[in-house]
């Protein structure tokens, strides 16, 4: 599926933070996790993830460290910080609002009652 660029950019922060909230990770694994969670429907251009990670690091939401991976290569791992978790909670509220709104609109016309 071809996603709107702005939508990708806006959703990248909560997606990355949410994945890192599951546990420390690194770029490649994050991309794989996104593919897995979206059932392959959402594909990021791999390289674009890294500027996003660097921005989140600059803002203090995540912290990076270099560490030796199991294959012997040095790998950059990211960990979510307390302020990153706070930001994630904030983003979550906003996305839930948008989500609820869209569901509401799309439901009218189909005559289904709310399941909430």
């Amino acid at each position: 599926m071809d996603f709107n660029k702005d939508l990708i950019a806006a959703s990248s922060t909560p997606i990355v933070l949410a994945i890192l909230a599951e546990g420390d990770s690194y770029g490649y694994a994050i991309i794989k996790r996104v593919q897995e969670l979206s059932g392959g429907r959402m594909e990021w251009t791999d390289g674009m993830l890294y500027p996003v990670l660097h921005r989140l690091e600059r803002l203090g939401y995540i912290k990076a460290r270099w560490q030796e991976a199991e294959n012997g290569r040095r790998r950059k791992y990211y960990r979510i910080t307390a302020s990153g978790r706070a930001q994630l909670a904030e983003e979550r509220k906003q996305w839930q609002t948008v989500d609820a709104l869209l569901r509401g609109i799309w439901r009218t016309g189909s005559l289904r009652t709310s399941t909430a």
Binding site: T45, R55, R73
Partner: protein, 452 residues
Amino acid sequence: MEGHSTQQHLENHIAQWRIYLQRRQSIHSVDIAELEDHLREEIAALTRSGLSSDEAFLVAVKRMGSFDELSREFAREHSERLWKQLVLPSEHPLSARSDGFTAILFAVVAGIFVKIPELFGLHIGVDDGFYARNMGIFVLPVLAGYFALKREPDTARFIGLGIAFALAGVFGNIYPFGASQYTEVLSILHLPIALWFAVGIAYAGRRWKDVAGRMDFIRFSGEFFIYYVLIALGGGVLTAFLTMMFQSIGMKPEWFIQSWLVPCGAAGAVLIASWLVEAKQSVIENMAPVLTRLFTPLFTALLITFLVTVFVTGKAIDLQREVLIAFDLLLIVVLGLLLYSISARDTKLPPGFFDRMQVILIISALLADAVALWAISARITEFGFTPNRVAALGVNIILLVNLAWSAVLYLRFLADRGPFADLERWQTNYLPVYAAWSAIVVIAFPPLFGYM
């Protein structure tokens, strides 16, 4: 043997790929290491699913994204890196030569603007008050126009800037200033500062809303100042030769120097300096951060020695009438040192020796200023509230607030309790305060103090 040579082949491919990335200066080698780790993971996964290593390499590189896109995304996040080397692969490339031509054209326009009042009988050397009040109004709109054209043109911004400059022209000139000239001099000093803010909006364009855009304007301002001083020095040498040579053949070139060379040159140099900063940002190391590195330790040593001396000898600050202005200048210098060390700092580096030095500098400057403020507070009513003193006090408070909060943010960063970006954001968000205060001094002070 076969496996070995395939592996070798792949390594060559990856090495080639790395070299291509290294040419993009917005991507540093540490980022390349991170991307390479990603690329290798991807290749390994693709090979496991049955692709040959050549195919896997091609697919992995494709998924990584094109070099242009990658370097643009990195440049967006790391705009500070562009200042040393790279020219952002712009979507509307304007060749260096045509850009230089535009700058010279605008410089000529600025020079002509300065001479237009002459047509209306206002002469340099006679109506100096008029020229001093309006120098910024002649030149800075041309500079703002130059940037507005270079960036993506936007009608709303053009109109907004036009209104701002028109208001500056009105408030710079309508007041019936008295003979003592206090508020007139204040207006002359503050108007260019407020207008420089308008130049910033034209300079940053759409990026004015971003911290990075405003930070770039701060960088630009520092480099601009240095280039301008250098051009002025060169102009001084040229003027000296001109005088000497024409005098040697018995002619007096003073009239030309005073009413043509100096005013038009000073106006045109603003455009030329701006163009040079833009053109050279990609070629040489920025100078403001270098000077900052040099003078931060020296100013810190000066301030600490001063404080220790005051403390040990118990000497009170000699309350000369304008002592506050001297301390304002000190705070401005300290703020400059802080700004240009922030502007050149990689926000992700952990706290280091130089950061601690900065904090000591800020805190000792705050203490020295507190000593001065304390000394003056007792006598301020006795001296009376002249426009100069109110203006000096206002500037002092504005700088004090900025530096005090900067110290708090810096200490939080040193204690690993906040990101360095907070400090950056605080400084860039503070810019409108200077402009607002300058506007108040220009617009409200003359009527408030009865045009004295």
